[in-house]
Structure formats: structure tokens, C-alpha cells
């Protein structure tokens, strides 16, 4: 009885009695969710266009952030370093297309997934070899990102909004808007959607698969860079970010593997429920439930809707 009370009543009483805490938790959840969504977006882009479940997306986030900071440490001005990093992501996209995707075209999904595992290991080794394995500080000020925080008087308590979090939410929304326009209005965007629908049909109307893959991996690389900057500004740039990036996976399956809105909504749901769960229920079982709560939520959700929130309906034929 006591147990049930502490599960079903106490957290809500706490929420009602301290709405400012609730808002703070919700806000933190939303920001985390936006960043999960950004990482998940990279997965969705690649999965839609090439059917590859790109496990290396997480390490691409770390790699992009490391490259940016690494260039800056070599004495390159911040904005030039940003441009150079974008160049590096382009080279990476071309290299992946040439070395990994092209020879493996038409292989089963599991094989392509494995190839991205190989890519992950390669990038971990490569990144550590060049930039060293120690955590680095993100160059927030040099990139003209806002710092500090604002305390708002809300519902009888102070709620703290970090400026960098607000910036993250704004930039993430911008990127999503740009991608949406890019996908629906431009020639390349339409080609991308054609490839997503059917590789063969796209080839038959003269769309170059190789070119599309480079573009998609490049776009995913840029999304990874943005995600890396934002995460890096919140904590610091290290390979531990990779585990955070794995959180994008439950976001993905919650939203549906092929849907960009799904990635965003899924990210927000996971981010908010994770923070709420940790804050209000986590202490009941000893804390630290953030590591698995997202996966369990996604798992339970999948039992009811196997294709995710916005995923294409799975039709199976014999």
C-alpha cells in the first residue's frame, strides 16, 4: 500500500505542490529531447535514402565536434574551423560512399549495419589518434553562442533557462525547417524522396544513387556537427557522448524509422518522460534509471504499434 502510494500519488502531489520544479524538469526534458531528435534526424536521413541503419551516427557527432575543437586548438579562427569541419564531413561522406556503400550495394541490411559498426571503430581510432582521447571544452564563445542563464519568476518559484538551451532549441528547429523545405521544394530533395521510395525506380528515371548517398551522408554529417556543438556546449566533447547518441535509437523506433516528424516528436517524448521519470520516480528504485527508461518506454510502445508513431505501415506478403 505504501509502495503504491509512493508510485501513484506522491509524485503527482509533488508536481502539484511545486509547479516551478515541474516546469524546470519539463524544460530540461524538452531540451534533451530536441538534442536526441537532432541525433535521430541524422539516422532517419540516412535510413530513408539508403536503407542503412547508420550505427556510426553517434560517433559522427563526436567526431564532428572533436574536429571543430581540434582545428580551433591548432590556432584556426572559430568560424574558419567551422567551415573546415564542414569540409571534413563532406570528405567523410564521399569516402563512405566510395569505400563502404558502393562495394556493398544490394547486400542484406544486417551486413550494412555491420559495415557501419566497422566505420564506428575506425572513426573512434582515427579521432583519438589525431585529437587525443581526453575530453575537450567546446568553443562556445568563439562561435558566438550565448552563455549564462535567465531566471524567470514562474508559479511561485524561480525557473532557470540556460541561454545555450534556448539557442539549441532554436537552432534545432531551424535545421528541421531547412531540411523540410529542402526535401519538399528542391530538385535534389525530390530525388532524395524518390530514392527513399524505391532505389530501382529512382535509378530508372536517371537519379544517380552514388550522388544522392554522398549528399545524404553529408547532410547527416552537418546535422551531426550541430548536435555535437550543442551537446558539447552542455557538457564537454568526449567519446562518452557516443553513449548519449545511442539514446537516439529508442527515439527512432518510437517515432518510426522513416519519418522526420517522428524523430522530432519521439525525441521530445523520450526526453520529457526520461527526465520526469528520473526526477519523480527514479529515487524509488535507487536512481540512475535514465540509462534504460527510454528503451523500456520505446519497447512498451512498440508492443502496441510495431511501426512506431509515424512509421510506414508494415505490410507483409508471402
Amino acid at each position: 500500500m505504501n509502495m503504491l502510494y509512493s508510485i501513484f500519488v506522491e509524485p503527482f502531489v509533488l508536481m502539484g505542490s511545486a509547479p516551478d520544479l515541474l516546469i524546470q524538469t519539463l524544460w530540461e526534458g524538452l531540451v534533451a529531447g530536441v538534442l536526441y531528435a537532432l541525433i535521430a534526424l541524422g539516422f532517419v536521413l540516412i535510413f530513408k535514402a539508403s536503407g542503412v541503419f547508420n550505427f556510426a551516427q553517434g560517433i559522427m557527432v563526436v567526431f564532428a565536434a572533436l574536429t571543430l575543437v581540434g582545428f580551433h586548438e591548432m590556432g584556426v579562427p572559430a568560424l574558419l574551423a567551422l567551415i573546415l569541419t564542414i569540409g571534413v564531413m563532406f570528405v567523410l561522406a564521399v569516402a563512405v560512399e566510395r569505400v563502404v556503400l558502393r562495394p556493398l550495394v544490394n547486400q542484406p541490411d544486417a551486413i550494412l549495419l555491420m559495415a557501419t559498426f566497422g566505420l564506428t571503430y575506425f572513426l573512434i581510432g582515427f579521432g583519438e589518434l589525431i585529437f587525443g582521447g581526453s575530453p575537450k571544452q567546446m568553443i562556445t564563445r568563439e562561435l558566438y553562442l550565448p552563455q549564462g542563464s535567465t531566471d524567470l519568476d514562474l508559479l511561485g518559484g524561480l525557473v532557470r533557462f540556460q541561454h545555450i538551451d534556448i539557442a539549441a532549441a532554436v537552432i534545432a528547429s531551424l535545421i528541421i525547417a531547412i531540411l523540410a523545405v529542402f526535401f519538399s521544394k528542391t530538385r535534389i530533395g525530390r530525388a532524395l524522396r524518390a530514392v527513399a521510395d524505391s532505389h530501382k525506380a529512382a535509378l530508372s528515371v536517371g537519379i544517380s544513387l552514388g550522388q544522392i548517398w554522398v549528399i545524404v551522408w553529408f547532410a547527416a554529417g552537418i546535422v551531426a556537427l550541430v548536435a555535437g556543438i550543442m551537446w558539447g556546449a552542455r557538457s564537454d566533447v568526449s567519446f562518452a557522448l557516443q553513449i548519449v547518441a545511442l539514446k537516439a535509437l529508442p527515439v527512432l523506433i518510437l517515432g518510426g524509422l522513416t519519418s522526420i516528424p517522428g524523430a522530432i516528436v519521439g525525441g521530445l517524448i523520450i526526453g520529457v518522460s526520461e527526465k520526469l521519470g528520473e526526477f519523480y520516480w527514479g529515487s524509488l528504485v535507487g536512481g540512475g534509471i535514465e540509462t534504460w527508461l527510454a528503451y523500456i518506454i520505446a519497447l512498451l510502445f512498440l508492443l502496441y504499434r510495431p511501426q512506431g508513431l509515424f512509421g510506414d505501415k508494415i505490410i507483409e506478403r508471402i
Binding site: 559498426f117 566497422g118 571503430y121 529508442p250 523506433i253 534504460w292 519497447l299
Partner: protein
Amino acid sequence: MFYREAGQFKTSYTADMAIFPLREDRIGLAVIIVCAYALALTGNSFLLQAVMIPFLIFSLAAIGLNLLTGYTGLLSLGTGAFMGVGAYACYKLTTLFPGLNIVLCILASGFFAAAIGVVFGLPSLRIKGFYLAVATLAAQFFLQWCFIRVPWLVNYNVSGAIEAPLRTLFGIPIVGATATPETRYLVVLTMVIGLTWVASNLVHGRVGRAWMAVRDMDIAAELIGIRLLRTKLLAFAVSSYFCGVAGALLVFLWYGGAEYDVFNINQSFFILFMVIIGGLGSLIGSFMGAALIFIMPIVLGMVVPAVLNPFGLGVSAATIEHLRFMIVGALIIFFLIVEPHGLARLWQIGKQKLRVWPFPY
């Protein structure tokens, strides 16, 4: 091959269904097993302790995952956690019942892993492919969290680690600090051979055929009367059993003690590498994959400095570690491009080539 099947006639159905229908294959296998046992006599404890014991244990885990991913077609990323369940269950069993034979404890601990595997296998009925892979990640993170947060599992040990106590078999210590590498090796070898034999019989029998039917197309399998729920859950149970035993062996006969971090997600990926590089749906492939993935970094660790040092490029240990990561990654991609069906397929092709040699076909 240096031998052909000519002149060997099968006169009964039993002979036709034998796993090794060729006399030469049987002799070859016997020779390999005898050699494996004889390796213990060489007394090279580095070879036994650092190479052979972990190789055999990882092979067993790879067989377990292969039964699930290769034979039943269910992608799982929770192998590390299931190995952990086996290890922790074995620790609890052997500390609760110190009189119980440790080999029995290890074999019994697999059943706990199997039970947990069935629970996390339940979603496989509704979801498949990458969705299932992410769902098994839930098992990975949740179980690892349990290893940290449930002090009962480590007998309220302050360090939070499990340690292999001294246990004997026929009066000879096989687990604990005083056990020699030779005796550990012999125990591991015997158990791996025994369990491989079980696995091989499973996949060649009715159960294995049902698994493969589910892998090839589960709806069609259902239509010909295979019960999906039972078959998939059985695959999860058997696979987790093998992984659990491998995890118990890993802690009790190799490391001698472990923390929760041994069974992290990288361990799961590591086993998955072995299965895919070795060959999906092949038992011998599991051994080959384990050999390649486990032994390759060891060899690279020796070769890379040997190659670089003569050029005056004295490199630090950290650099070698990074290079090793890069080379392992590149080799995985290389192997996938050269032969996506794994080493087992290469082995088959090689055998066929030798069989018809000197003619091309």
C-alpha cells in the same frame, strides 16, 4: 580436399542424417579435439590463459548469438547482458550452495539467463529487424543497471564486484586463484565441446529446421504449422542459455572476478562482430569469427610496434591502441566487402575448390 566422398555408401537413414557423413571428416574432427586436449600438456600458460580460454568462451557466446541471429533471424544487441545474468546467477548459486559442484553451478546458471532471455524475447513476436535490435538494447541497459543497483546480486559486497571463490572438481581446484591455466583450459574445452555438440544436434534436428523456417519467412513458417511464439521464445531461451554459460565461464574460469562493466554494450557488439564475420547460421563460423575478432587485436598489438619501430617511429601504447581500433574497423569493412557471408562461406568455397582440384569444376 585431399579426400573425396567416392566409395562411401550410406545404407541407413541414420547414416544419411549424420552430421559428419564422411569418414575423413570424422577423423579430422577427432584429430582436432585430441590436439586441443594435447595443447594443455604443452604447459604454455600464456597461450592457454590469454588466447585459448577466452577464444573458447567467446566461441560459445558466439554460438549462442548465432542460434538467435543466424539461425532464427532475430537480431539481438543484448548478448553482453545475458552473459552477465549467467555470471551473476552462477555467483549467487555457488555462494548460496558452496557444496554444489561448480560445473553444475555454471550449467545451471544458464537457465537463469534463459528465463531472462525469454522475458526480453517476448516483443520479438510483434517486432522484427532493427526495431527488435533496439528493443534488445533495453535488456542490455536495464540488466546492466540491475547489476549496479541490486546489491543482493553481489551479496552486499562493498566493492560491487563478484569474485570467483575457490572451488574444486575431484579435489583439483578449477576455479579461484590457485587453479592452474591447464586445468581451467581443460574444463572450458570440455564444456565448450559438449555444448557445441548439443547446439549442433539442435540445429540439425526438428527445432533447428523450425528456426530456419522462421528466419527465412516467419509468416510462411506459421502457415506450415510452426508455432511462432514457441519457436521464437525457444530460440531466445537456448541462445541466452549458451550466452549465460559463456558469461559464467568468462568470470569464473578466465577473469576470476568481474564488475558490471564487463558486460557492457561493447561486449554485445563484440560478440555480434564474431557472428557476422564468422558467418550467420554456421557453427564453425562462430569459432572462426571468435578466432579472428579475438586474436586479431592481440596479433595487431604485437605486429604494429614491430613494423613501426624499425623506422624510428617509436610509438606510444596509446597510439598503438588507436591504430588497433582503426585497423579492426577497416578489417571489418574489408571482410564484409570481400565475403559478406563470412568466413564460413570462404571455408566452404575453399573446400569445394580443393575437392575438385586440379579441375576448375
